[in-house]
Amino acid sequence: MATSARTLINVPPKAKRGDVILIRSLISHVMENGFRIDNTGKPIPRNIITAMVCTYNGVEIFNATLHPAISANPFLTFYTVATESGTIAFKWTGDNGFEAKASAQITVE
């Protein structure tokens, strides 16, 4: 089993300079919304991912604040302009010190 959350990201491996590319991300997380009660009547504490930040060679290109209404196993897609070759990096943070990272390389001609 993964020691940190399992992630699936999709970044096109190659693109032409100036292309607008689609980035997709999926991360495994229960996103416990904090509004449920268990079968003994005790409230189940909130445990969600609260943010996902994406950088492109260190420059922030996407920043999302997530609330409990985001489904379990958060799925997020967005676009960015292919400016240069390098690394597109994802960082998720959340309740209880949750942190996960993923990255992909892109070659831009």
Partner: protein, 154 residues
């Protein structure tokens, strides 16, 4: 010898009513007013004009746990004219905020997609902030159905 109850009748009834209320544990849900307040927190009270944003969400949903949503804004996405923020709100979920996204001209295209939870049949509102400081919105009504044969009898 007649038994006397520990608590007089009226106090007992109040106690039982209080306990029953605790057992239900229904959080104060969002309302159109709290949604409006949440939107105002983002806009700072500035006017929000319907248009330039398109909220795509299925009108009829099989299960409220994972509803596909796409928000796209009409913008050239240049340095001088681009989308700086995209926000999503609901009317009847336990609380009104869903997601808040910061973008810049580097996005190239102001379109984001995700999957959200909807607690009930309700209205969903997307609000977009532009680099010129204006706010735009779109709304959609979603009808929720429930899957058949669940784990816990409803």
């Amino acid at each position: 010898m007649t038994e006397r109850p520990l608590l007089p009748a009226t106090t007992r009834r109040l106690f039982l009513a209080g306990t029953a209320a605790l057992l239900i544990v229904r959080p104060a849900g969002a309302t159109p007013e709290t949604m409006a307040a949440a939107i105002r927190q983002v806009t700072g009270g500035k006017p929000v004009t319907p248009g330039r944003v398109k909220l795509s969400i299925p009108p009829l949903v099989e299960n409220g746990n994972a509803v596909a949503v796409t928000i796209s804004a009409d913008s050239p996405m240049t340095e001088n004219d681009h989308v700086t923020g995209i926000h999503l709100f609901t009317e009847k979920n336990p609380q009104p905020n869903v997601i808040g996204i910061r973008l810049g001209a580097r996005a190239g295209k102001a379109e984001v997609a995700t999957r959200i939870r909807l607690a009930d049949t309700q209205q969903v509102v997307a609000v977009c902030e532009m680099s010129d400081g204006t706010f735009w919105s779109d709304k959609a009504d979603v009808i929720l159905t429930l899957s058949a044969c669940l784990e816990d009898p409803v």
